[in-house]
């Protein structure tokens, strides 16, 4: 029993020096946010930023279950709103910081032509990768497909993936034939090819929102300010994100 307690105390003891922030972020932010966090650490010696990426919906559920997160960067503002309503996120800290768009990607060896939305119905497209509707990109993709009246027809060809990047990885590896993914994600791979972008007029509004969780480390606020600043903006724009 003593070993139990000693072990648990050792493992759960906070770091002995400097501030440590845990930032949970939509996985589509992976590359620019990693660069932003490194710059923030360089500018704030002694501060360490731990990044955890996943589906925004999964991260929100973890925050709700008591995960020790300081900031949350969501690909869907409604997830942040819900945390605010539950008293888990601080509304005053919440800000929009980027926008994204949808594109349709095809597997590298796909032989079926995929040039417009109705091509998704062709029998050559056997598997379409898509996360559950709770995951932001899954919801955005479904909204667009439903708007085009394609969703019901392709539903049974959907293979469910974990999050935005896993959707892209499924197509890049050829395990799925096509997917609706973020434009920024499509740029990160040489595997999956962009078949066509979702037309501007049909794009659902995709806004990235950052917030500070209520029990956050005081350094969280500085990190959020840095995220809204010019240097962070350059990283986000280089990755293909648009200004909010």
């Amino acid at each position: 029993m003593r070993a139990w307690i000693a072990g648990i105390l050792l493992l759960s003891a906070p770091g002995a020096h400097g501030a440590e922030l845990v930032a949970a972020a939509a996985v589509s932010l992976r590359e620019p946010l990693s660069a932003i966090a490194r710059e923030f650490e360089a500018e704030n010696p002694g501060t360490t930023v731990f990044l955890t990426f996943g589906a925004s919906s999964t991260l929100a559920a973890q925050a709700r279950a008591g995960a020790p997160l300081d900031v949350f960067l969501s690909a869907d503002p409604s997830l942040v709103e819900r945390l605010e309503t539950e008293g888990l996120a601080a509304p005053a800290s919440t800000r929009d910081f980027a926008r994204n768009r949808l594109v349709v990607v095809a597997a590298p060896e796909l032989e079926t032509p995929l040039e417009e939305p109705t091509d998704l119905l062709s029998p050559g497209i056997r598997r379409i990768a898509m996360p559950a509707a709770a995951v932001p990109v899954g919801r955005y993709a479904r909204e667009w497909l439903a708007e085009r009246e394609l969703l019901a027809a392709i539903e049974e060809r959907v293979v469910q993936t974990e999050h935005a990047r896993a959707t892209l990885a499924a197509v890049s590896a050829g395990n799925a034939d096509a997917a609706v993914v973020y434009a920024t994600d499509a740029r990160t791979t040489r595997g999956a090819k962009v078949a066509f972008p979702v037309p501007r007029s049909e794009q659902p509004p995709i806004v990235y929102t950052a917030t500070q969780l209520t029990q956050a480390d005081p350094a969280a606020n500085a990190f959020l300010d840095f995220l809204s600043g010019d240097r962070a903006r350059r990283h986000l724009e280089a990755a293909g994100f648009e200004a909010p």
Binding site: L11, S12, A65, G66, P68, R165
Partner: protein, 222 residues
């Protein structure tokens, strides 16, 4: 992925496995000894309960632990009062690893104690040794190899734990990301070569541990 990441992940995994094993083995020894040397009502039910974490889906174990350790569970007042907040920490990963490793350790200890001839214990008692002295100076030394083998099984199971850990500890790089969790998150990201590096480390650790076990702890002729 750089070498520091690989060492960090492997180090955290071994550390969690070690904590879990050190915590579990004394309990496993006690439970196994009571099961082997004592008869009591409901013994078969206790045996079944001991084995349960081995046969339940690990994610179900994780769900249960999340409830027990969480802020909305039955012990929330206790966690509040003591300031212990394990959920989504390496401590939670160690608890998950301990729970799934427990049946393996207990089963191995049971076999070890069952193979100790009761007559040695009776002789020790007849020569005036107290029950606890008999246990520590006669039974335990005779069962040592089996108990250590159980500890090793518990450790290897603990360092490979995935399902329960992912639920109760999350996957926070640098904090709770063990080898198994790191492989999963990299496969999800399409980073198959990084996943393969972590897979190779898992393979090497598992093989080394089991080989050591076969060589030094099971070399007895049956």
């Amino acid at each position: 992925m750089n070498d520091a990441d690989v060492f960090g992940i492997a180090g955290l995994t071994l550390w969690i496995g070690a904590i879990a094993t050190v915590a579990v083995v004394p309990i496993a020894v006690a439970v196994a000894w009571s099961l082997v040397r004592h008869d009591f009502p409901g013994k078969s039910l206790v045996r079944a309960l001991v084995t349960l974490p081995m046969v339940l889906p690990p994610v179900a174990v994780g769900l249960g632990l999340l409830w027990l350790l969480g802020r909305r569970g039955p012990f929330s007042a206790l966690w509040e009062a003591t300031g212990i907040d394990l959920v989504f920490t390496a401590g939670a990963a160690a608890v998950a690893a301990a729970v799934v490793g427990f049946p393996l350790a207990t089963r191995a200890c049971e076999q070890a104690f069952a193979s100790v001839d009761v007559r040695y214990e009776q002789v020790a008692r007849s020569l005036g040794l107290s029950p606890s002295a008999t246990f520590f100076r006669v039974t335990l030394p005779l069962a040592k190899r089996g108990v250590l083998y159980g500890a090793l099984l518990c450790f290897t199971r603990a360092i490979g734990e995935f399902g329960a850990t992912a639920v109760v500890a999350g996957i926070i790089p640098g904090r709770t990301e063990t080898l198994a969790l790191g492989i999963w998150s990299r496969v999800q990201l399409g980073e198959n070569s990084a996943a393969a590096v972590l897979g190779a480390v898992s393979f090497a650790l598992g093989l080394a541990a089991m080989w050591a076990g076969e060589r030094w702890l099971r070399s007895d002729p049956p």
